[in-house]
């Protein structure tokens, strides 16, 4: 049943959003929650109906859009994208549910639903142009959210966010056009279908250029150093819900795209650029962690911390082996949950005090014990405490990359030190010590509505930390197929060496090895 579940997942929120215009203001929140719940239910159903044993794409749908130019509406889901979709649905739900009183909440909820459409779309698209459409469309609602509900610098922040990403992705678009052209030359038909592109083996120098073109688009989205400066502004100015979605889902688009496009399409280039990118990733990890330590605004701390964690994800991705890539995908979800939760937590205190300056706080543990506990849990998760969700991802990513380079992994491992430093420092500033500031004297502890969002996240954080299997298995299957594909496609010796050949390990030899 429900063969076109994916299309429903994409367009149901959009439709609901359009209908939302005629909902009365007061009942809007209820409406939003209802819609998001249905969407989340559908996402869960997708997970339930998803066949863990299949490595390839599932629920594929195909509709011809511009056959003459090879652009078609192709969507599908595999282990890599599945959980990010579920996560997106989940975060939209708790985002709307925990929405504190904002001015014209109606527009906000409609925007969120639109945003959800684009988010799901990006992760199910199997046609480069469809991917690009959703990729770009996702900018608009976020632009509006930041620009309309943000802080004093909101317009600067939102425009910067939009233009920066927009410019990057246009370069990526040129790359896509080239890719399609090469496919056209090779086969005589236009096609933007990713699965078709997978079959195309390009000479290495082409790969390098195309990789670079795609890289610009993805790196800005991730965001990788030195393209990261839009993020602190976006986070710093965005309303809580904006930061949550941005950190939890939108940033993952970049890293996801690396795995969906860069690696399988250009295995040789990926190998070629592995070390430069790894070094960038390490700079991201350590440098931004130190920058985070220098912040006075707790939200900025979390913002920079997510850049730092994205560094680990990138590193895992470019480990080019199953452990690393699986780890990085898992870390995407983990980081989504944890940083999302952290932003929610920051929002909690912001709603009470309307400031995010840590100097304003101190000794909060006296008045808000529950808050302090949940914050502590999430902090520990974010510094990679074992048996929390983050550890699994970080461990696997680093473990994976260790196969490629020892010394770089050692440097990247500094993450667990510097991460602890800024997080503990921030926690100490906020929660420990005597309660000095009178304004904090009688702050209410976390309310029910906030717990609605925070409790599930805490549960997930622990549960997946202890028992990641249900998520790791599907991811693992899909990743194995991708790694194998990369190995088979790679032409250069270096790449063949770096990218493990699972088939041989499994004892059977693919056609490439045959001759």
């Amino acid at each position: 049943m429900l063969d076109n579940i994916l299309s429903i997942l994409i367009f149901f929120p959009a439709l609901a959003g359009v209908l939302g215009f005629m909902i009365h203001k007061d009942s809007m929140r209820a409406y939003g929650v209802a819609v998001a719940t249905i969407e989340f239910g559908l996402a869960l159903w997708l997970w339930y109906a998803f066949d863990n044993t299949v490595a390839g794409m599932q629920f594929i749908e195909q509709v011809a859009l511009i056959p003459t130019f090879g652009i078609n509406y192709i969507i599908g889901v595999d282990g890599i994208s599945l959980f990010i979709i579920v996560l997106a649905a989940f975060f939209t739900l708790i985002g709307i549910a925990s929405l504190t009183d904002t001015k014209n909440v109606k527009n906000m909820i409609i925007t969120l639903l639109m945003l959800q459409m684009t988010m799901v779309g990006v992760f199910v698209a199997l046609d480069a142009i469809i991917f690009y459409i959703f990729w770009e469309l996702s900018l608009v609602p976020m632009l509006y959210i930041i620009g309309a509900w943000g802080g004093p610098l909101r317009i600067y922040a939102s425009v910067k966010f939009f233009l920066y990403t927009f410019a990057g992705s246009l370069v990526m678009l040129v790359g896509m056009l080239f890719m399609a052209y090469f496919y056209y030359q090779a086969t005589g038909v236009w096609s933007f279908a990713i699965l078709d592109w997978y079959r195309l083996i390009l000479p290495e120098n082409f790969q390098l250029w195309l990789f670079a073109a795609f890289f610009v688009g993805f790196a800005i989205k991730v965001p990788m150093f030195p393209f990261h400066t839009w993020l602190p502004y976006a986070h710093g100015q965005a309303p809580t819900i904006g930061s949550v979605i941005l950190a939890a889902i939108l940033l993952k688009m970049g890293t996801y795209a690396f795995i969906r496009f860069s690696l399988p399409l250009f295995p040789d280039a990926a190998t070629f650029f592995m070390f430069p990118i790894a070094i960038l990733a390490i700079i991201m990890i350590v440098y931004t962690a130190m920058v985070a330590y220098a912040q006075e605004d707790v939200k900025q701390v979390v913002a920079y911390s997510s850049v730092s964690h994205m560094g680990v994800i990138i590193l895992g991705t470019f480990a080019l082996n199953v452990e690393g890539i699986t780890g990085s995908i898992f870390l995407m979800i983990a980081h989504g949950v944890v940083s999302g939760a952290l932003f929610l937590l920051v929002g909690v205190i912001y709603d009470r005090r309307h400031t995010k300056m840590m100097s304003e706080f101190g000794g909060l543990a006296h008045v808000m014990p529950r808050y302090a506990t949940i914050f502590g849990l999430m902090m520990m998760a974010s510094v990679g405490m074992p048996l929390t969700i983050n550890f699994v991802g970080e461990f696997l990513s680093l473990l994976g990359f260790y196969q490629q380079s020892h010394i770089l992994t050692l440097l990247a491992g500094i993450a667990i030190i510097v991460g602890a430093i800024y997080m503990l420092a921030a926690y100490k500033k906020m929660f420990f010590g005597e309660l000095t500031n009178e304004k904090n004297r009688n702050l209410p502890d976390v309310s029910k509505r906030e717990l609605v969002a925070l409790i599930p996240l805490s549960i997930i954080t622990i549960w997946l930390g202890i028992y990641p299997k249900p998520i790791l298995d599907p991811i693992n299957n899909s990743v194995e197929s991708i790694v194998q594909l990369m190995h088979d496609k790679s032409t250069s010796e270096e790449a063949k060496k770096r990218i493990p050949n699972l088939a041989r390990e499994a004892g059977l030899v693919t056609s490439q090895e045959a001759h």
Binding site: F69, I129, L137, I155, L163, F166, A167, V174, Y181
Partner: protein
């Protein structure tokens, strides 16, 4: 004793003239009606114009069928040339005009629409443009060009405000200069080849192997200057912003779409053969002109404070974009040109109509121009739907998928990529990014700022009438659901362009 020259009517092949004659007749009809009974309401004239254009469109349809079956048709002493380009461009011209003319039915009656002559002029313009695209004789092109231009000058002036007169005068004077350039260029080619028919010129030049390249270039320069002026390539663009600002939004929209496509066709006819016959110079120069037009147009648009003026610069930049297609000069790029222009027509129609419905009789208090950015601030709060529609058009202009213009950009960039103009493609990409800023600026004003005190939603639709709303509705649908139309359009255009040998 001269024996009488007898020419069989078949050989004249008058059919090729029908599409141009119809608007001319229509125009005369309107004038006659006015003579017999003056002071009739504008609705009548709008209706008549629409009907005429409708018939015109029908003839074009039949013409396209003829082309589809028999290929290119020539007639009237080989003056007329009905090939794929002619047909597509006429479709665009007539079709777009059909959308633009109802804009005269605005809520407030503006000066021009009270003149029947205005509508006559309108039809003359269209006729002139149709002549331009449906011939390859430099004479007829010249005639068509001037007919349309003179009509346009007058129509601008009819808006009857100081600014519109200033605009008209400026446009007129520069137009006269451009006409001089054109005729001189034509003269040079005539001197070189003894013919004024483009394909003749081509053959002759090819025959003597471009012996005196220098003169060919001189001719090309003058042509480039003349045509460049009409489409507003840098540095011949200077009229555009003032004229757009001076004339009514509806008129400006019309100017930004309809005349330009005719010029593009002429440019295509003229420059294609030069580029392909290895006039590298032209390639280089066009490259420079195209890039500077795209870039400077954008950069100047960045600093505008009036939306209409911003759109003027933006359409300069778009013209540069499309000129690039001519520079590339492959079948794909030429089809891309038409595709782009159709989609651009929809979007710009929408954008300018939005300006048009927000037009007040007299300047809002404390504002220097009709459509300053401030006027739109906080629109989302006062009249959300209007704001959304406007935002939609802005996004489409910025080339945000999946809205109309994105597909045009996509296809042109793709054609650049396919024929090895990688750098050009990147320049286009980055320019679209720059362009993002000023389209975004309006969105920022509409969605993120608070309304200026005392502003009500009414002011944004003060000039709205059913007709305008309908037009905008069309534009919205066209912009959003462009994706569905792309495939048939592409098939149609490519076939026609290819069959007419471009």
């Amino acid at each position: 004793m001269l024996e009488p020259v007898n020419i069989s009517l078949e050989s004249l092949n008058i059919v090729t003239l029908y599409p141009m004659l119809i608007p001319v007749i229509g125009a005369l009809l309107i004038l006659c009606i006015d003579i017999f009974k003056g002071g009739l309401d504008r609705t009548l004239y709008v209706a008549i114009t629409l009907l005429v254009l409708f018939i015109d469109f029908q003839t074009l349809l039949s013409a396209s069928n003829v082309f589809a079956t028999e290929g290119t048709v020539v007639g009237v002493f080989d003056m007329m040339l009905i090939d794929g380009l002619a047909i597509i461009s006429q479709f665009i011209i007539v079709g777009a005009s059909m959308f633009f003319i109802p804009l005269a039915l605005s809520k407030k009656q503006f000066h021009e629409s009270s003149y029947p002559e205005f509508f006559a002029m309108f039809l003359f313009t269209i006729a002139g443009l149709q002549f331009m695209v449906a011939t390859d004789s430099l004479i007829l092109i010249f005639v068509g060009l001037e007919t349309s231009s003179l009509a346009v000058y007058t129509m601008i002036a009819m808006h009857n405000r100081d600014k519109s007169f200033e605009a008209a005068v400026k446009y007129f004077t520069m137009g006269a200069l451009a006409a001089g350039f054109y005729s001189f260029g034509a003269m040079v080619f005539y001197a070189l080849t003894g013919s004024v028919e483009i394909n003749q010129i081509a053959t002759v030049l090819a025959a003597n192997g471009y012996a005196d390249m220098g003169y060919v270039l001189v001719g090309t320069v003058f042509m480039l200057a003349a045509l460049g002026f009409k489409v507003g390539l840098v540095p011949f663009h200077t009229w555009a912003p003032d004229v757009y600002e001076g004339s009514s939004a509806a008129m400006a929209g019309f100017l930004s779409i309809v005349p330009k496509i005719a010029i593009f066709v002429v440019a295509m006819r003229l420059f294609e053969f030069l580029i392909h016959s290895g006039v590298i110079w032209l390639e280089i120069v066009l490259y420079i002109v195209v890039v500077s037009t795209m870039t400077m147009g954008n950069i100047w648009a960045l600093v505008q404070s009036d939306v209409k003026r911003m759109l003027a610069y933006s359409s300069i930049s778009h013209a540069g974009f499309v000129m690039a297609a001519i520079l590339i000069g492959t079948t794909q790029s030429n089809s891309a040109l038409f595709l782009y222009w159709i989609l651009f027509a929809f979007t710009n129609l929408g954008a300018f109509s939005m300006l048009w419905i927000s037009r007040q009789k007299e300047l809002p208090h404390g504002q220097t121009s009709d459509h300053s950015y401030e006027k739109f601030s906080g629109m989302i709060q006062t009249s959300p739907i209007t704001a959304l529609v406007m935002g939609l058009f802005m996004l489409s202009l910025a080339g945000l998928p999946p809205f109309a213009l994105f597909w045009g950009k996509l296809y042109i960039m793709s054609s650049a990529v396919t024929s090895g103009y990688t750098v050009l493609a990147l320049v286009m990409a980055l320019n679209s990014a720059i362009a993002g800023y000023y389209y975004l600026k309006l969105i920022v004003y509409m969605f993120m700022k608070d309304p200026v005190d005392g502003a009500t939603g009414a002011s944004f639709s003060s000039n709205a009438s059913l007709a305008l709303k309908a037009i905008i509705g069309f534009a919205v649908i066209g912009t959003i659901f462009a994706i569905i139309a792309i495939n048939p359009l592409l098939e149609f255009i490519s076939a026609f362009v290819y069959n007419s040998g471009y």
